[in-house]
């Protein structure tokens, strides 16, 4: 268990800058999820903490010790790879004990540690099997077991669930969450799946093009995004983001906006900073679940023409265009099933709309 600190860390491969200089502190016992689209540098960031990549600049501290130039094994970190990376010619037992053996632990002690970890992960019956005799979920458990036995200061996970099928992913997600609770260890977890990020993290780092876009708890990122990028990345289906014209402010922390694609005129959109200078053009954002379906005769803000209805059983979503990019998405109550071509009316839940500059910065 330890505080992990990145100070002004950057990374370039040749002339390509993959990580811009950034600072990040992962507190003791925290479950930090680094999330972002593929190619945003999140794996590189994790590999630098692991010691598999050396930062081009900056320092990495674990527990106050500068580990920037140290070998991976001298950092007190353990890593779970996306591809598991088990030693195929060794049994589960040998896979888990290899790191302990390298650390010079006596055999009896190794055996004890492996058994303890195997019990935690329900792998006791598989200790003498080879990885190829295991299912995907079991393999990933062995990979996790290999990290647990080493009792590292920091656990690193590099997209550990993306090779598993959907059901197993949910199961392993819960197991990892449980593990974190039981061990109370510091964990850094990389994923491109915002559901994993939301469910596992105590804090989330949203990374974009090698820059930190926003750091915060899952609910902070969901309720108070700094940018259109974060707003669009967190939440499913993603937030509706449409162009808007700002007509002015009401002096009470709202901007008056026209949103042609939603048919809104003079809508009072809440501002994060009531004193911010208002641009003429802006981006208006509202989440599908904040569009409240209204019955005939109730006051409504917008009217959408139904094009596609997506019924997931627990939720129903309405799309007003066939392509997701051009579409406004709204959540419907269960049981409401408009036909294509129907006009459906919605109210925007109070205080749940967001305003961004055209460059994507929250106002």
């Amino acid at each position: 268990m330890a505080v992990t600190e990145l100070r002004n860390v950057s990374k370039s491969f040749g002339s390509v800058r993959v990580i811009e200089p950034l600072d990040l502190t992962v507190e003791n016992g925290e479950f930090m999820v680094i999330v972002g689209p593929s190619g945003c540098g999140k794996s590189t960031l994790l590999r630098m903490v692991a010691g598999l990549e050396i930062p081009s600049d900056g320092q990495i501290l674990i527990d106050g010790t500068d580990v920037t130039g140290k070998e991976p094994s001298d950092r007190g970190v353990a890593m779970v790879f996306q591809t598991y990376a088990l030693y195929p010619h060794m049994t589960v037992r040998e896979n888990m004990a290899f790191g302990l053996e390298m650390a010079g632990m006596p055999k009896a002690e190794r055996e004890r540690q492996v058994l303890t970890a195997a019990r935690t992960l329900q792998l006791e019956d598989y200790l003498d099997r080879k990885p190829r005799q295991l299912s995907g979920g079991q393999r990933q458990r062995v990979a996790i077991g290999r990290t647990i036995v080493r009792d590292p200061k920091v656990f690193l996970f590099d997209e550990p669930l993306s090779n598993l099928d959907a059901e197993l992913r949910v199961q392993m997600r819960l197991e990892i969450a449980k593990l974190h609770r039981e061990l109370g260890a510091t964990m850094i977890y990389v994923t491109h799946d915002q559901v994993e990020a939301m469910t596992l993290a105590t804090r989330i780092v949203v990374l974009r093009d090698g820059r930190i876009e926003q750091v915060g708890t899952p609910s902070e990122l969901y309720a108070d995004p700094d940018s259109t990028f974060v707003a669009g990345f967190i939440g499913s289906p993603r937030m509706n983001l449409v162009p808007a014209m700002v007509q002015g402010g009401d002096g009470a922390g709202h901007a008056l906006v026209d949103v042609p694609s939603l048919g809104l005129k003079g809508y009072r959109a809440p501002l994060r900073d009531p004193h911010a200078a208002l641009p003429g053009e802006a981006v208006f954002g509202v989440r599908p679940e904040d569009l409240i379906w209204t019955m005939e005769g109730e006051t409504s803000d917008i009217a959408l023409t139904c094009e596609i209805v997506e019924d997931l059983g627990s939720n129903v979503f309405l799309y007003n265009a066939a392509s997701r990019d051009a579409s406004i998405v709204a959540e419907l109550p269960r049981g409401v099933h408009p036909a294509p071509g129907d006009t459906v009316r919605f109210r925007i839940s109070d205080g749940t709309s967001y305003l961004f500059t055209e460059a994507g910065v929250r106002i």
Binding site: A50, G51, L52, E71, P72, S73, D74, V77, A78, M79, F81, Q82, T83, Y84, A85, L86, Y87, P88, H89, F98, G99, M102, A103, K130, P131, R132, Q133, L134, G136, R139, R146, R150, N163
Partner: protein, 275 residues
């Protein structure tokens, strides 16, 4: 996909043809070595021996130095194969893993060793070996064999190392394995088929090497099979039975090596490691 009967027959015929093409000479040699001399030179050759005798083997082992040649060959080829592996495994791993200046260039340059026919380097090598006092020693043959097997062995092994998923090695680094331990405990077991292939390659090239063995070795007691055996034939006119028996015995060690090492040729060795 379901094959028709005609297609199956055609496949069987094709396979049969190639099996015969490869197998018939062996059959001819091995079965012939057990025939009586008059059957060997009979006007109408027999596919299956009508007679059976050990006399050729008896004669080969008792009245010639074949046994000595065999031991020499085993010594030279075995040691050549082992030395090739001992040098090629670390070299292949270094070419694969370490980053150093001119790595790619060096990697290509080593194959230049095969640009020269061995006959071209024979005379300069002989002079050098003479100065070093190595002429007429089996060590000279081992040096030459290793030198010729090494470039190809390094090439093969590097690509075998390259086929191991990077994450496995990284996991080993995180587990704290020093490079040589990772090589020994992780990389070598995983590249066993490649190493076996290289071992067989080195053994067989040494086993059949003729040119250097005929020039570098002067005394009969140090000859290897290819050279010594050719002497036997000249020595007692062409004794076909002796020739066939000698050829059969010369094949035997290679077959044994294949049988012993061949079991390492298992597929799917890294299965279950990743994904």
């Amino acid at each position: 996909m379901k094959r028709t009967l005609g297609w199956n027959l055609a496949l069987a015929a094709g396979l049969g043809f190639f099996v015969a093409l490869v197998g018939l000479p062996f059959w001819w040699v091995v079965s012939g070595s057990f025939k009586l001399p008059r059957e060997i030179i009979a006007r109408v050759p027999t596919m299956f021996p009508q007679s059976f005798t050990w006399q050729h083997y008896d004669k080969l082992l008792s009245s010639s130095d074949y046994g000595t040649y065999l031991v020499n060959s085993l010594f030279v080829s075995g040691l050549s194969a082992v030395l090739t592996l001992l040098l090629a495994i670390p070299a292949g791993y270094a070419f694969f893993r370490l980053e150093f200046r001119g790595r790619e260039t060096w990697y290509r340059v080593i194959l230049l060793a095969y640009a020269f026919p061995s006959i071209v380097v024979l005379i300069p090598l002989f002079t050098m070996f003479a100065k070093a006092g190595l002429v007429d020693t089996r060590l000279a043959l081992i040096i030459v064999n290793v030198a010729f097997a090494l470039p190809f062995a390094i090439w093969m092994l590097r690509s075998f190392f390259g086929s191991i998923p990077r994450e496995i090695e990284e996991a080993a680094r995180l587990d704290g394995g020093p490079p040589l331990t990772v090589l020994r405990r992780i990389m070598i077991p995983l590249t066993a088929p490649g190493i076996a292939a290289v071992a067989i390659f080195a053994f067989v090239t040494s086993w059949t090497e003729y040119v250097f063995a005929s020039v570098m070795i002067l005394s009969d007691a140090k000859r290897t099979i290819p050279v010594g055996f050719s002497g036997i034939i000249g020595q007692y006119q062409v004794d076909w039975g002796l020739l066939l028996a000698g050829a059969s015995l010369a094949i035997l060690p290679v077959v044994i090596v294949f049988a012993l090492i061949g079991r390492w040729f298992v597929t799917g060795l890294t299965e279950g490691a990743v994904k």
